[in-house]
């Protein structure tokens, strides 16, 4: 069934089709449509919607529901996402499988509430304090937004970890066709055995019990042993953190989503995420017509970052342009992985997409 949907609408539909049980949120532009749509749709389906007093309460309510095994989600934008960081860290530590949508607007601070920015890239990956595991997806179209949201719950539950969906003001507010019969971003994971222990630091992906199942689950944000009881034992601390950091890298190739047309002939590569990923394809076509051997690479998974895969894709590429609507954040990751390559950062931050001619000019003068 093909539907013409707004990005945020597609996200809400994706969440419902992904089995959403619980949504807690707080109004913030440009994500509010997700909150509004779910306030109507969830109660009609016998599911729970609640508008909380702030974004901190929203993420905490979501993590609480997630720890009882419910499919829980919240949606916000930059300022709210900043407020959620401590709760997000708790979700990582307590291994709560929840989904957080951040519709990026211009920052810092209140910034540009109704305009685009892509400045939350680093915050999504490294926002909360301490080393922590995180899964981040960034859809580039309305249809991708639908499917990423729909399938994020399975991924969150498999890894027992929060998943962040990094949308942006344009992807969220533009309209596009969504074919709900497709099978995008569906991951076939290997089924894991069940456990009765609150935590397991050896079997990273074992199915741990949830609160309310009668298994006496104990959860804390402190470093803890496998019974969930706080500890300062250095050996257990190490085991706890290593387990957390290790688990999201297991089968990471299965959740490293991207789109590229780079093959052995390509000399120049354009790189971008979110809405800029969409723009790359137009630029690439134009530059090809001019006789340049241009290709594009569009990461949809921003974390875990499959560095080996990226190195392999860019093996023969000589020049790389990273285009972003910020001051160069994805660039730092690409440059880190491809440190022996000629990587150029092209940044555009003015609250809107840059002019086509300006980008072409920037590429041509840097060739």
């Amino acid at each position: 069934m093909r539907e013409f949907l707004q990005g945020n609408e597609a996200c809400a539909h994706g969440a419902i089709d992904g089995g959403l049980d619980f949504f807690a949120g707080y109004p913030i532009t440009p994500s509010s449509e997700i909150l509004e749509i779910l306030s109507h749709e969830l109660p009609l389906r016998g599911k729970i919607f609640i508008q909380m007093e702030d974004e901190i309460a929203s993420i905490c309510a979501v993590v609480g529901a997630a720890l009882t095994g419910k499919r829980a989600m919240t949606a916000t934008s930059g300022p709210g996402f900043s407020l959620m960081q401590e709760g997000l860290g708790y979700a990582c530590m307590s291994e709560a499988p929840c989904v957080i949508v951040d519709v990026m607007r211009g920052g810092p601070s209140t910034g540009l509430p109704t305009n685009i920015g892509q400045g939350d890239y680093m915050q999504a990956k490294w926002g909360t304090h301490g080393d922590h595991p995180i899964i981040v997806f960034s859809p580039g179209s309305v249809e991708e937004f639908y499917y990423i949201t729909k399938n994020s719950f399975d991924i969150a539950f498999y890894y027992r970890n929060p998943v962040i969906i990094l949308s942006d003001e344009i992807v969220s507010h533009m309209r596009g066709i969504v074919d709900k019969k497709r099978d995008l971003f569906k991951v076939n994971f290997i089924e894991q055995p069940k456990s009765d222990k609150s935590f397991d630091f050896e079997n990273d992906l074992i199915k741990k019990p949830f609160i309310g199942e009668g298994k006496k689950v104990r959860v804390t944000g402190l470093y803890h042993d496998e019974t969930g009881f706080p500890t300062t034992n250095s050996k257990i601390i190490e085991k706890n953190l290593f387990h957390l950091m290790r688990k999201i890298n297991i089968f990471k190739e299965k959740i490293f989503f991207y789109e590229t047309n780079i093959d052995s002939d390509i000399e120049i590569a354009l790189v971008g995420f979110g809405i800029m990923g969409n723009v790359l394809k137009e630029l690439e076509r134009y530059l090809r017509d001019k006789g340049l051997k241009v290709g594009f690479f569009r990461p949809i998974t921003l974390n875990p970052f499959d560095e080996e895969k990226i190195k392999e894709i860019f093996k023969n590429v000589k020049k790389i342009f990273v285009l972003e609507l910020n001051m160069g954040q994805l660039y730092l990751d690409i440059k880190r992985v491809l440190c022996d390559k000629n990587v150029k950062s092209l940044t555009y931050f003015k609250g809107d997409l840059p002019n086509f001619e300006d980008i072409i000019n920037d590429i041509e003068v840097n060739l």
Binding site: D21, F22, A24, P43, L44, G46, I48, I50, M52, E53, D54, I56, A57, S58, C60, A61, V62, V63, G64, A65, A66, L67, T68, K70, A72, E86, G87, Y90, S94, I211, G212, G214, K215, K216, V217, R218, V219, T220, G221, L222, F229, P230
Partner: protein, 265 residues
Amino acid sequence: MNWRDYLDFSKLPTIFCSGCGLGVGLRAILEAFSEENLKKEDLIFVSGIGCSSRIPGYVDFDSLHTIHGRAIAFATGIKLTNPKKHVFVITGDGDGLAIGGNHMIHAARRNLDLKVFLFNNMIYGMTGGQASPTTPLEIKTSTTPFGKYEPNFDIVKLLIGAGATFVARGSVYYFIHLVNLIKRAIEHKGFSFVEILSPCPTYYGKYISITDPSEFFVKQKDLVYRLEQEDKLSKEEKLGKLPIGIFVDEEREDFESLYLRLHGR
């Protein structure tokens, strides 16, 4: 079931100091569970950060020790998706009223069926004796070396103002009275709040020069009077004392019932 059956003895002893009221408070809660015949598989403890928030680690049923000030928000997500469970929030004066004050008043307003037990020791114990929103005026603490120049919250009035449908105050000194308050809170349908006055000899005691745990515990007796005696006692007799008892116990449609009714289910 005996109150001991709710306790996970493998995690004892607790981290609480000698003379701390938290152990007595926990015992009172568990006695109430026992008398109310609550099943362990139906119970969930949720706490934030602070001395009192370490209580959930010692019980023999599901528990969450969450982040500072947010226990009520976590509990909201848990209760809404697990309406048949008894969800209890264990918090303190700093956790529940300073950093978590916003969640406290909104939860009271919503009248969600949560039971909140706030241990008020009038100081931040876990971090070393700083002033809290309930530290009385002019008391010296590690952050009010010249005496506290901000008035304290009257927690009971705050909660009543926010719309809580069950508001009570007890003291760990009056154990049986406290158990009965907790039982009434459990029986109440809707947001139930019990302030539990609890001594902290280590820090609060140090600042008011009563460091002997038993002496400080006995002192708790002089800090309160029964609400029933409100009209019988003179102004002088009540000076510097807090009433204990049930202040509000009213029926009002709770969040869940309203949610279902308005959506026609």
